[in-house]
Amino acid sequence: MQPISGWGRYPVVLADERIGEDLEKVTRDAVLSRGLGRSYGDASLPATEGAVVAGTWMADRILSFDSQTGVLRAEAGLSLERLNALFLHRGWSSPVLPGTQFVTLGGMVAADVHGKNHHVAGSFGQHVQSLRIRVADGRILEVNERHEPELLRATIGGMGLTGHILEVEMRLERVASPWIWQQTERVANIDELITRLRRASDEWPYTVAWIDGLTRGRNMGRGVLIKGRWARPDEAPAGLPHKGRTLAVPFELPSWFLGRPVIRTFNAAYYRFLGPREPGGLVDPQKFFYPLDSIRHWNLLYGRRGFSQYQCVLPPGDDSAPRRLLDKLTRGNGASFLSVVKDLGRAGRGMLSFPMPGITFSLDLPLRGAKTQKLVDDLNRIVIDCGGRIYLAKDTLTRPEDYRAMEPRLDAWNEIRRRWDPSGRMMTALSSRLLGDDA
């Protein structure tokens, strides 16, 4: 029995985590599967203390790869890091790359992750061809668009609640070189940022913006727009990107460390030094896609009380919503170290997946008790009012009634889920908090 938590280090639950190379064995008595534990809140935690949790990251064998079509099949614990290390220099990449490579294939399916190219590639689930899953009654089946398509769509973005994902078959994408060509530009405020982000997305496959989550007034939402594409072979150097140095946060820092002064200094420096870079230049994909991966255990920066991330999407139609959201955030003492903005494209086939057309904001929130709860409640109010939704893989504090109000798809998904798990065996702390599962 050991204490486990998500990346935000709160909440912490005692669990009987069984990690092993044989997923059929470790999932036998488990009520949920957990990969590398990179979801921020309680998505990978059990609802009841001492429940059996299957740890999948050791089951990471590649079972087949077709170098003609790019179709890859692997055990669900395979990390994106290993996949990148193995395939990028051969000219293949996962078509969807989230903000960290320390995630497993199973986790990427369960959260239906998205990346900087969501506006062209959609979410991870769009590239999944087939899954081997163990459903609640212990049966193991292969699900895809021909066989049990409803279960497939409920599992993509289903937060692991429809069954244990054992194997994933997906299609990799050809890339022109193992380097990224990047351009950056500075943007003065949030309205301009959103306009420029949308325009950039017409021309670039990878776009994202970082914003200063502290500045108020005219310059609220000032930031840096980052655009990228795979470098052409004639632009790329002959060699591969060097394996960069990684730093590690050696111990838990005091909780006040990432307070306003430090964040303000960081944000100002970032704004000054990171842009603009015309006409652009080559960067290592590691730095482009996963800037924070070079600092191991960066979650310790937030200290004992931990942190959460708030990520929501605001659909088009209400142009003032982004400004209202930022206004709430900058006023609410919720000093956010890293605030990231991205335009999302069409929703995928996952029944409960997060992405939908609109603008998504992700904000790190140090946990400060009732104050943070109030901030999340206020932010959720804005999201509900404009018809948006939140990303469950990040959430820690949303209230069930608010989640229900922003999630009209919940009943349809639950119906499929219950068909495969009538007694409610598969359960997580998140499903018990938000979806009304009885712990």
């Binding site: 050991q2 990690i19 740890g55 050791m58 193995l86």
Partner: protein, 234 residues
């Protein structure tokens, strides 16, 4: 750790022949290794450390397929906690036989073949548990101590004839074997261990601790007086 090591060797183009006892599982591992290698097929054969009759056919087959091998690596072994071993004599018997007697018998077969070719490398995974008798690993440690002794002796006896012996002594490494145990400080990752071991195989270093910090930890533990070992919990 065996998987991590084999992946690194496959990725750098070494010709591999893989032994294992569960043929379905072995076939999956082979496909994984072939993907790491990028091209070419990797062969495999049945070999079970609990069954000495499987050793000769497996090594003969490897010899045939590879056209003679120059390195033999043994990573297999059985692990159980001291409590499990104390209460289950049958498990204890199997652990002692596999980790010591049968490991030695297997490596003797490998040694004969390597010496016939004029030398080569034997690399076997022992454990820091074999360095000093300690309360939580009395039985497991006794088997591993025997294995370490044997490997050291091989090095003394056959080094001059071209046989290089690498005794790997892993400390706590997060693997399938240690899953469920509480990880102590300095716990290692299989990938990092594999890097260290591969370097030792290439250079023929006789003893390698992995992660390397265990060399210093064990240097201290080996020197502790008996009275202290009786008191201490590790």
């Amino acid at each position: 750790m065996g998987r991590a090591l084999a992946r690194k060797m496959a990725a750098r183009g070494d010709q591999l022949f893989v032994l294992g006892r569960n043929m379905d599982d072995l076939a999956r591992s082979i496909r994984d290794l072939e993907t790491h290698a990028g091209s070419g097929e990797i062969s495999h054969a049945y070999c079970d450390l609990t069954d000495t009759s499987s050793f000769v056919p497996a090594l003969d087959r490897a010899n045939e397929v590879l056209g003679g091998f120059d390195t033999v690596i043994l990573t297999a072994g059985l692990f159980a906690t001291q409590e499990q071993l104390e209460t289950d004599p049958e498990l204890c018997r199997r652990m002692l036989i596999v980790n010591h007697a049968h490991s030695v018998v297997f490596l003797e077969e490998a040694r004969r073949r390597l010496l016939e070719r004029g030398g080569g490398t034997i690399c076997a995974f022992s454990s820091v548990a074999g360095d000093r008798a300690r309360k939580p690993v009395v039985l497991y440690g006794s088997a591993k101590a025997g294995l370490s002794y044997y490997l050291e002796g091989l090095d003394h006896r056959f080094r001059a004839r071209g046989l290089r012996v690498v005794c790997v002594k892993p400390g706590f490494v997060r693997t399938g074997m240690t899953a469920g145990l509480k990880a102590p400080p300095f716990a290692g990752e299989p990938d990092a261990v594999a890097t260290v071991v591969l370097r030792a195989i290439d250079s023929g270093r006789p003893v390698v601790y992995a992660p390397p910090v265990w060399r210093w930890i064990m240097a201290v533990i080996r020197r502790l007086p008996r009275a202290a070992m009786r008191k201490l919990g590790f």
